[in-house]
Symmetry: C3
Subunit: 153 residues, 3 copies
């Protein structure tokens, strides 16, 4: 399995798919598209980054948080694809929201944490469209939230 | 009609589909998907909640506003489906924006007002992916804005 | 070509499709849908509007910026459609984020800059669903960001 090999090469293990923090589900498939819920940087039951960039969290830590959101999205995708991420034919879109102080405008740098993960894991199929946007505040105080639209088979 | 029965059981009447506040349309169908415009908590021509949570609007009132956004989205969906909400086969995604004071992080609780409505009305088919995000300010001062992607037949 | 004629009638020339400012691509096609990346008001390599509305940028200038975002989205769509915008069968959705001061609630007026462009260029096929949302800050300090979902053939 190609994706499994890439994950291993990168020293990454998929986390357990996070449980939604409210009345919704982790992902929905319609036709060949899967929409994931917005993922926050949960790792082993706790957020790895909370509060706005840069006053509470620096850019590098925020990138790491965005990468964690991406990993959680992969876990959610794997779950809905019976564990087989090779059935992802394209990452279509990432929506990335970054908790931001007034005047912070480096949302793209933060969002790259998730985007580069997709390129590393899926190669050409990981090249996606993206909107990166600053937010005054995110669920549970998360520093980043990432949602994914993926094309699957 | 199942959905009609559920609405009646909940004592709910669909509002008239709100008129867009600007140069766009309430909903667009492409293939089996309908994208609604962002819905604000209009009821009988006026917003039922304006300003950020929690300084201007408490969480419970914001949940009620989110539910009203959801009702308006259902009205818009009904309109594009010739009045027949039984043609909704799945609520795919809710995008929920919550006008938030700095430090407010309970966007998921607010968004549940819309999410729980979808579960009540559509049952299993109402289980959706969701992104809940804080916003510094929403159209006309609305406390909440909800957009919906639905799969239809 | 109808769209080319409309562009000419409006005195508009499509800009070169902007290069993404980070690790993503300008647009992705999946089935009959194209998702563009979030477009900022770049013109000839520089942003034409930076900072929030209204303290840094007035509503009219922000509308012009939203229109520029729309033009950039059209350039991106043209690129993925071998230059032929007549293959756009419907503009499905605009996501419009407006950098906003606290208390600013005229995001719809700003977003109309992009929406009206779509109507002028595509006529009936340009009528779209839309979410307009205030943001505490956008990439590179942009005043507006617009992403597009389009149905194509």
């Amino acid at each position: 399995m190609k994706v499994a090999n890439r994950l291993a090469d990168l020293g990454l293990t998929l986390p357990a798919a996070p449980t939604p923090v409210a009345a919704y589900v982790p992902a929905v498939r319609t036709g060949n598209l899967v929409y994931t819920a917005g993922q926050i940087p949960m790792s082993e039951g706790a957020l790895i980054a909370t509060g706005p960039v840069p006053s509470a969290v620096g850019i590098e830590a925020a990138q790491t948080a965005a990468r964690q959101c991406g990993l959680n999205a992969l876990a959610v995708l794997a779950n809905i694809l019976d564990g087989d991420l090779d059935r992802v034919t394209r990452i279509v879109r990432l929506g990335v929201f970054v908790a931001s102080d007034p005047g912070f405008t480096d949302q793209p740098k933060v969002a790259n944490g998730a985007s580069e993960l997709m390129l590393q894991i899926f190669g050409e199929a990981g090249r996606h469209a993206r909107a990166a946007v600053g937010s005054i505040g995110l669920p549970l105080g998360a520093t980043v939230e990432v949602e994914v639209v993926a094309e699957v088979r």
